[in-house]
Symmetry: C2
Subunit: 377 residues, 2 copies
């Protein structure tokens, strides 16, 4: 039986472990936390990501390694790769860990990005604002997620506050123009060890306080735009010789696509694929890293995904909503923490809108306010 | 978090445990075997089903109990029911454990059965053959499954051999007329604690050497026949005040339905619901026993299910077949043992037939010979 090692034992590892069981594979996760939520369905080795001795023991237990979390120290990924196959490869991980190399890659493959500049001093920040204009977003180049490591600048006078908030240059920073995009989209893509490349139908995403709140698939986009998005994802995957699932997050701005960032792992905006696609992102990630043939990524039925942040709604109330599927990550509630999600599925887009509205309202979910402003589609 | 205790730790418990995780529930199984395959995803308490001390410890760890296996001693189910809610209730389990009380129940709800007679002597067997005619099947009233505890009689001269093969009256026996049925069908049904009753689309089944080999859903039956089948399942569920999933196995003979047997648990012929229905039989069984609202049982896409008996085919070969989903139970190979199954799903019945034929042939599965004789539908 194949054993897949996962660096990180959060909900992504948990859902990967659930997908591994029917495939006749098992998961061992390495996580610093004693209460990593993958622990209900997988063995968890509790250790820090830079604990070399633990990484060596981890490597001995597994056939292949992958990630639930991209901010693993590059040295740890490299150490592991010395002992076992690691997918995606540490080089691909490194590229997506740094917003500068990520944007350079986007540019190389012809994917436009918001105007950006690296920032190493407060003076440089002031100068860069000339190029990006306002508003703009100052971000740490590394280790950011869910809106963490970011500060928005609305006026030139915000520069020094933002500079200080992100550590006054103690970590590398990047300034990005804020794009008044019309829509946020993501491509969930997978590439096999043999180079086979597939994408799921495009997903439209809505964030709330910097954290994904709602995804709807398929996104209503023109065939041209969808082809462009898929083409960019394919070019990135091939450039990186990528193996496994990744997400490419895009802004749609005046009919053009801009590259926001990529996540080198299964992605929150692809959770709907469990119910809505012929093969889920979790199963295909496992198939890819195990060197098995990839599964069909076609849409089976349209879906909407609602994230539960900070607290779970009533399970009883939720399960009474037609077409709703419940995903409790078994985590302790904490403000701002992703505790679970629900996928609402329907036989057609019209009924999906009805069910999504019913779920958003019935569960008092931020999607209710989001949909009031911009109907899904 | 709710903990569901399951008596039996086989593949049904394993698939129930997989469905429990997203619902925020967990499973503890009690099984006599040290290598019960539910152990990969659930805690397993190794003990005999009649170990009263172990049952008491088991009861302390769980909120509610259910079954992966119906041949649990009635006394053990009753003992457990004294400490925790048990679904289905021990009385319902007892009815379906005995082929005589099961057939009496069928008769009560207006479901015809093959002609039968209880047998307590070789003389009685000879007399009963006058009523049933030949061929006929002598069966143990209790503890039969997968063709075990059965002997077929083709000639009157087979009577004494069959009588001896089934223990010469040491266990209660029943003789049933062999019905030259056209089709075997099953209704997978679920009833909630609140009496909510639902069925999945009818399934057509094919057996090979007494073990289920192939199921196709939805079965192509007239609306009238489907309504009759569902009506019988509903009447049985209500008569037993049944809670949870059960299967009602039927023969279709000259346009009429005959009751074969019922299985008081999730059922092999309902495995296709994981991929093919809005809610799987496993999730709805858990929803029922936990007192949660039941999920939608509608068909999402037509499916065929191939059982793997005695040995698993090549995983690599199987996963290359379009629309094929792999379910390895993680069991050691042994002749006649159910080791796993594959579900083939397609957007429409025509493509399902193509894919099923491809899978049956490519995996050298008994379904290949079955389909050559009687095309699915």
């Amino acid at each position: 039986m194949s054993t897949i090692g996962i660096l990180g034992g959060g909900q992504l590892a948990r859902m990967l472990a659930l997908a591994a069981v029917p495939l006749g594979a098992r998961v061992v996760a390495l996580d610093p936390s004693a209460s990593a939520c993958a622990g209900s369905v997988a063995q968890v080795l509790q250790a820090d990501y830079d604990d070399q001795e633990a990484l060596a023991r981890f490597a001995e237990q597994i056939d292949v390694a992958t990630f639930d979390f991209e901010n693993v120290p590059a040295a740890s990924a490299a150490l592991l790769a010395g002992q076992r196959p690691v997918f995606p490869a540490p080089e691909a991980l490194a590229t997506s860990q740094d917003r500068l190399s990520e944007k350079s890659l986007f540019t190389e493959v012809g994917l436009a990005t918001p105007t950006f500049a690296t920032i190493d001093s407060l003076d440089a920040l002031h100068q860069a604002l000339e190029h990006t204009g306002l508003p703009a977003v100052l971000k740490t180049r590394r280790l950011g997620y869910d809106g963490k490591g970011q500060a928005r600048l609305h006026r030139r006078a915000d520069a020094s506050t933002a500079w200080q908030a992100l550590g006054s240059g103690r970590v590398p920073l990047i300034l990005e123009a804020f794009v008044p995009f019309q829509r946020e989209l993501s491509v969930i893509a997978v590439r096999g060890r043999d180079g086979d490349f597939r994408t799921w139908p495009l997903t439209r995403n809505w964030h709330d306080h910097g954290i994904l709140a709602l995804s709807v698939a398929p996104a209503e986009v023109s065939a041209t735009l969808a082809e462009q998005a898929i083409g960019h994802a394919r070019a990135i995957a091939e450039r990186l010789d990528y193996v496994g699932v990744f997400a490419l997050e895009l802004f749609e701005h005046d009919g053009r696509l801009l590259g926001n960032e990529m996540a080198p792992r299964v992605h929150n905006s692809g959770h709907w694929t469990i119910e809505g696609a012929a093969t889920s992102q979790f199963e295909n990630h496992l198939r890819a890293v195990l060197g098995l043939p990839l599964g069909d990524t076609r849409l089976v039925e349209p879906c909407a995904m609602l994230n539960f942040i900070g607290q779970m709604p009533s399970r009883n109330k939720a399960l009474a909503i037609p077409g709703l599927h419940w995903h409790d990550y078994g985590k302790r509630a904490r403000p701002g923490r992703k505790l679970g999600h629900a996928t609402v599925r329907a036989p057609d887009p019209a009924r999906l809108q009805q069910r999504l509205a019913q779920a958003a309202q019935g569960l008092d979910h931020p999607a209710h306010a989001i949909l009031a402003q911009s109907p899904a589609g």
